[in-house]
Symmetry: D2
Subunit: 346 residues, 4 copies
């Protein structure tokens, strides 16, 4: 059974694994102070186009979010996030466990705008309420949508005006930046966000996320917070080795483009059959609305999540592609899809 | 320059890396629910000799300690630990950050005994003080010493009597269990401790620690705590693959024995030259007391930590060996040592 | 200027203050272990009609909520609360600061029902999300509505079925229990809730809330949690003295009835003039919708909160009465109201 | 039985209670924004001799400590305190519950010095350890000793040099400042400390502690932290009324002098009988070492804590006096003491 469940089903891209093998028996400094990590940080700074940023490597996304956000905020400060935000829904209260409230903003397409943020500010006015201090967004969002450069500029400008930090969760950042509809560049993020992270786990690495801290206010003593939250890996070089490999040429973007291309094949095939999508996603997650009988047929050969009921006879499913998704598997899926539809009609 | 600084300088044992390569392109379930992790858990249960235990794989030791201890305790409950305990000294307040006080017990040799624990209980008597609820020990301790079976049985019995949990930090458990002076077996730990962990990172793995929960009281909902603390890895299979490889035969113990053997070579050579040790360590960490001039000479070719001053002319250094320590490097060190001593004398 | 801003504008009922004066120079045990506190607990148990409950006295409502809820829950467990809940809106993230997420349920009238709770359970299904464990409600709610006995029985039954705790915030419990529309008794709460508190500060006391813990599961070591959260008062007897005075006869209920009667006078007068109310409140908080010009006139002589805009020309205000509200002041308010309306018409 | 157990056995000084009665039925703003609190703050600023300080009133000492210290520190920052410090021993881990480690410094007389602080700094050197950021001391200490002006100046200077905050717990500050051996003034504290609190509960108030924040760095948003920790009282005016009464003339100091005078009578009597004291205390807590038979006799008519065993036949007890201690009771105690001794001898 072929899986379209998520983009962390396989291990690492072979080049990543080769790099790990090559460096395996050399001795390195521990806890991220090795030469590979230094080189990876160097490369990332070049790609982002800024020197005065701090970069720290983590083993996972929830860990990155909880370490960064709890380090950035004072106890009474809160986070504003869209209601679909990963930290709100799928991190088991990791942020609240560090003591901070997240103010949820109801949005339709996974994206927050300055009007939404203003409402949160206007309803938190005195010391009987938490003080909103940081805006959390994801790009792409948890439902596959992406921010345009103009949208992000507006949010960034508004945050600066209101003395709010802007943080971007980039668990699938590669897919956003390589989307056909995207007009943002990695270098824009360094200017627009106070901090953001570049996801490796879902784009070719065995594990690894690179947190980029742009605002000077957020840099001090950051490694203390990492250690306290269990995020400083003893063999930190294995993160450095992977990010070095992903960014020493364009591997990171090549992999993301492949994931998007595979998603596009699926999207076109589903559209051609007349199916709608729950959300407009130009990235590697698709949410087609299918008849339940078809979903059941597809489940015989493919695994994926059923996202939500739509009506008595239809549900939205989630299909995720990745750097490792095989074109042949996509074509097989499309072929089966057409076959099931035709058989049913007859 | 050859490093004796620690046992996480290199990557993974080649067999571990081969196993990762072999499984790399297969699709697996995420978050530790893959077949490799299931198999690894199975193997560990067999080695420990108990079926009704829960085993969870983590990426690092601090993360294991903070997730487990905060999951096990209610807010007012505290931990009793020897003053050298890793959680007290080298985890940046990770445990306190989860809300719990650690009661420090001054000990000479890194090991706590029932008399020490009793003092802590006797001085914490009402609701104006924290309630001691868990005893934390490490085996081997942070200064290389190990607990005998009889010592551990006494502590375990006392803890049960006093309604305390017993938790063993096994970051270097392999070295303890393979020490020539050891009379404990892995299966003893399952009976004596309420929870303990088997360290992989420092004994051949790229990363990975296996937490074993023996007491039924501590098992419920444990994966929620892992997720909340950022400890559930998306690609959890990479932990399962490594522990499967370490325990499908005796690799874990073979590696630990090598580390101990290399330490023994160093120990004998240093003893033969008449040097004393700060602590009695039958494991892979040695703390020889050397003249400062000799330390300076050795530092020209070898890297290691200077642990503490002893007097105006002597310091204790820390030498750590591992599965990856080369016999040739040890012999070279010994040869250089002798050479420096002879040259000085002449 | 007379204030209808809240029910904590004045000090204590004179009988309370007299009781404090009478006991002032006697020596008492500290930290709530004095004879007054014991007697107050005794009296409350009689009024509630249960012996096997634990009662603890606190100095304020937020402190009671944060101490109780953090003591009752494990780190991954969450609270379900209506979106108007005091802990969600007006306690500066006090609950999140203890590490717990609150799942907000959108409700119209301040009251939650079993359908709402079920939705929260159905959308929190695995370890990637918090585990709902406690339902928080207020009676009366923050917008003045009250629960019927039947409604509370349904919630209580559902919570027991689903292994959820039921906690009732009774900051204004007196007003709810003395409402003309109420069919609940203090003794019902002891049976239906796992814990609840009886508010003193807003009903005659200088300060003081009595937390009642009914479920055996929640009782253990509770005084440790109080001390840890700064809630054990050195001169705890001053809380005992007040609750003894409030409950040695029916003073507590007499005071609440007065507050409700004063609210009723206002309510009838406003209704007679044809004004609507934002919510149906049979308790001591009213939310009349008035034309803005009238609000401005009233503000010249009376202070109160403007609750929310209703349309371009109308707003809802909040009028709160208490045990200390003077009938003469209420009549003056009504007289002025009529006067302003007549003047405007002419 | 007369109690020398502590200085919070009685209620408030009659003048305090009268002030509460006088203001009782006036309407005030809630949450500490009333005119009494404003006036009290004004008076305290005058007594301290500084305008640019912030003052906040709390209901108890543990609450003051935990709110202030958690507001002042970032997550990885730790507190240095003498091992007898109240926050270390008698607050049920309240500080750790907010996430911060306390570094305990072993001292003989309850007082810390710059050498002690330096050791703590020198042993906390990198991100694997917490970062010491605040020095906590009490004046008087928990064992009755007091700091001289010169000692405090040295500590203050050292803290400024090392970028550490200095915080003084003044639960019994009146007794320290009114001690015959004292050379410090209230105005010195405003200059030397970054924050300190003036205890009311143990010196005449029904409840109340006044936190003084001197350093600008620590002032921002402080009321948010108070609310979050449950420390903003709805009827905050009752704290303001009490501090106004204590400081509108010299009542606060008159009461502390009385407590010290009563302690002096006891001290002289005990010394005259040849007894030693566990600590040198020039304040209202005494720790005489008495034969166990005498302690038993005294316990028949007086209550007090047995502090610690000294040898098989002697123990130290704690005798505490207060503003409310009756001279007649002290004389009776002394008379009985002499009587028991004489009887025994005969």
């Amino acid at each position: 059974m072929y899986s379209f469940k998520n983009d962390y089903s396989e291990g690492a891209h072979p080049r990543i694994l080769n790099a790990l093998v090559d460096a395996n028996l050399e001795q390195s400094e521990g806890y991220g102070q090795d030469r590979y990590t230094k080189k990876a940080v160097e490369l990332l700074k070049q790609k982002i186009g800024l020197c005065d940023i701090d970069i720290h490597l983590f083993s996972g996304g929830t860990q990155t979010n909880l370490t960064a956000l709890s380090a950035f905020l004072r106890p009474h400060e809160a986070i504003i996030a869209p209601n679909t935000g990963h930290i709100l829904v799928h991190e088991t209260g990791a942020i609240e466990a560090t003591g901070h409230k997240i103010i949820s903003i109801e949005v339709g397409n996974g994206k927050i705008n300055t009007t939404d943020i203003k409402v949160a500010l206007d309803t938190h006015i005195d010391e009987h309420m938490v003080k909103p201090k940081l805006v959390y967004i994801s790009n792409p969002t948890e439902i596959g949508s992406i921010y345009t450069k103009s949208e992000l500029e507006q949010i960034s400008r508004f945050c600066k005006q209101k003395n709010l930090y802007l943080y971007i969760d980039g668990a699938r950042l590669g897919s956003a930046l390589c989307s056909e509809e995207n007009d943002l560049q990695l270098s824009d993020l360094g200017v627009l966000a106070d901090a953001f992270y570049i996801g490796g786990t879902k784009n070719g690495a065995l594990l690894g996320e690179a947190l980029v801290i742009c605002s000077d206010l957020l840099k001090e003593d950051f490694r203390f917070h990492m250690k306290q939250k269990g995020a400083l890996m003893a063999k930190g070089s294995i993160l450095g080795i992977q990010f070095q490999e992903l960014f020493r040429d364009n591997l990171y973007f090549v992999l993301a483009k492949h994931a998007n291309a595979m998603a596009n094949l699926l999207k076109n095939a589903l559209s051609n059959e007349g199916y709608q999508f729950l959300t407009h996603s130009p990235t590697n997650q698709l949410f087609p609305v299918l008849p339940n009988w078809l979903i059941e047929k597809l489940q015989e050969k493919y695994s994926f999540y059923i996202w939500t009921d739509v009506d008595a006879e239809h549900s939205a499913i989630r299909l995720v592609t990745s750097w490792a998704t095989k074109e042949a598997a996509v074509f097989a899926f499309i072929k089966d899809l057409k076959l099931y539809i035709t058989s049913r009609v007859c």
